[in-house]
Symmetry: C2
Subunit: 301 residues, 2 copies
């Protein structure tokens, strides 16, 4: 059976958009529960200013705790952790934490790039090039996020040609994988097929992950469209937690358990335990003090 | 551009599962708003016992009011209204109301048939045959619902061969269209493709409608799978209102506006005004006293 990889976003893209800030202890508990449900890839922090994103504060402390627990075999040895790194300063702290994978985050829309990461697209590429070079010299794997691929909250439509060019540049800079983000959840399957058909002409599908937000209810259909074209890596967030704090009206990532339900029903394997995921969502709902939007968790499993 | 037909379910499959009972006046207002948003097919009542389904009481009164309003051009002359009819007694009341289309409702699972309509599948077919014959003699069009096509809350899996045989029987009895229902929202696109590939071997796609509930978040992906196979008719419910009162844990039909958003984004035409649909959902949320689950309505349009 074909295998699909779930890259769990709740601890970064999820939590950074929650009003409730989780302590290092709570975040660690979530990591442990996700690990025990079979999650083998998760982004668990960001080395950004705590002034801008207080939810990600003490990411270094959390990562050290996680890596220690993994050494003591409290976490599976094959579980991979990553953290978002915006610049060289962030990379220094990341290196100090001992993490083995980082991610850089750019945009396909000029205005979104300016407002979200305070620089133009071309300036962001220069920064990433430096970070990637130094990271790889330190044997750190780098993942790339390209956001606003399907639309921008400020500019509206985004040029597909521009997206393709940027994917090419990210890959050329040495990211081992690029995650194409529908940051504001506007994509429909037609657009997904158009972009992926172009992207897959220049890249193997193993280097491409899709990252859908479910703002308008189309995320799961977009995942189906991607699966049909051979994509086997998806960024999802437990319970549908989170979103993007800089994109007006943006909802959370598509819910991990809803995606996994569909995947298992279609004969894909994920290595994940649905019942444990649902229980973790119920636990998570209590931590953030609101019912999370995943559908499956409402059925009680 | 290919055209897709939306058959609006909120007034029947939707309301029958709401705790709040809407008056004839409120239901008429909803019909008027849906009509003004471009909806041209809606099921607006059921001739069932008010003891069992009090939400559908005074369906006859509502239908008379609607047909009167249509005569006075307050409703579009091309808007088609239908009502659920369980038996000959129901048909008599339906005929008396002046409605020009009715629907019969059966199941593909024996236990669900017993518990939902109090008879075996073969008994239900006999009843439908009588109803359809008499309806057609009175120039009334008949739609058929086949429920639990993708799974049953009591029996679990449902035989695909049985489903295919039943579709054949319904069509042979003279329904002009059959709606295949995922009553408890368990279907995934693989199953949808399997069943539709078989169904479309014996029937033109114009006779097939798909009816998905979004219990596990897969409804919109199932619609995409159906669209890809040429299906152009979908039962949806404004705001995602409703469900099935006899199926434990069942959520509402997939939300009309979320489906329409995807359809328009993919280049399909529906004749519907998304902004008006969203406003109607916001109005509807106030009537039933809860936030309806559609995603698009939360964005504010």
């Amino acid at each position: 059976m074909p295998r699909v990889q779930i890259i769990e976003m709740s601890l970064r893209d999820g939590l950074q958009n929650e009003v409730t800030h989780l302590s290092v202890g709570q975040r660690f508990s979530l990591i442990k529960k996700l690990n025990d449900a079979g999650i083998r890839r998760m982004e668990i922090g960001a080395f950004v200013s705590p002034t801008w994103v207080p939810q990600m504060s003490e990411s270094g402390k959390l990562i050290k705790k996680v890596l220690r627990a993994q050494k003591m075999r409290r976490l599976h040895k094959e579980t991979h952790f990553s953290a978002l790194v915006p610049n060289r300063k962030g990379l220094e702290t990341a290196l100090e934490s001992g993490i083995k994978e980082i991610a850089v985050f750019g945009a396909a829309s000029e205005t979104f790039s300016q407002r979200n990461i305070n620089c133009s697209i071309s300036q962001s590429l220069k920064k990433f090039e430096e970070v990637i070079k130094e990271a790889r010299a330190n044997k750190i794997k780098v993942r790339g996020y390209l956001s606003t691929v399907f639309g921008c909250p400020y500019e509206g439509a985004v040029s597909q040609a521009k997206v393709i060019k940027l994917v090419e540049k990210y890959l050329a800079m040495g990211v081992y994988e690029i995650s194409l983000g529908d940051t504001i959840g506007v994509a429909t399957p037609k657009q997904v097929r158009e972009i992926l058909n172009k992207v897959l002409k220049m890249s193997n599908s193993s280097k491409i992950a899709m990252h859908f937000h479910d703002t308008r209810g189309t995320a799961i259909a977009n995942i189906l469209a991607s699966l049909d074209l051979g994509i086997r890596k998806f960024d999802t967030s437990l319970g549908g937690l989170g979103g993007c704090p800089y994109a007006p009206g943006a909802a959370g990532n598509v819910a991990t358990e809803d995606v996994v339900y569909m995947l298992h029903g279609m004969g894909y394997t994920t290595g994940l335990d649905l019942q444990k995921l649902i229980k973790t969502t119920q636990w998570m709902s209590r931590q953030v003090g609101r019912q999370l939007p995943s559908k499956l968790s409402l059925t009680g499993g």
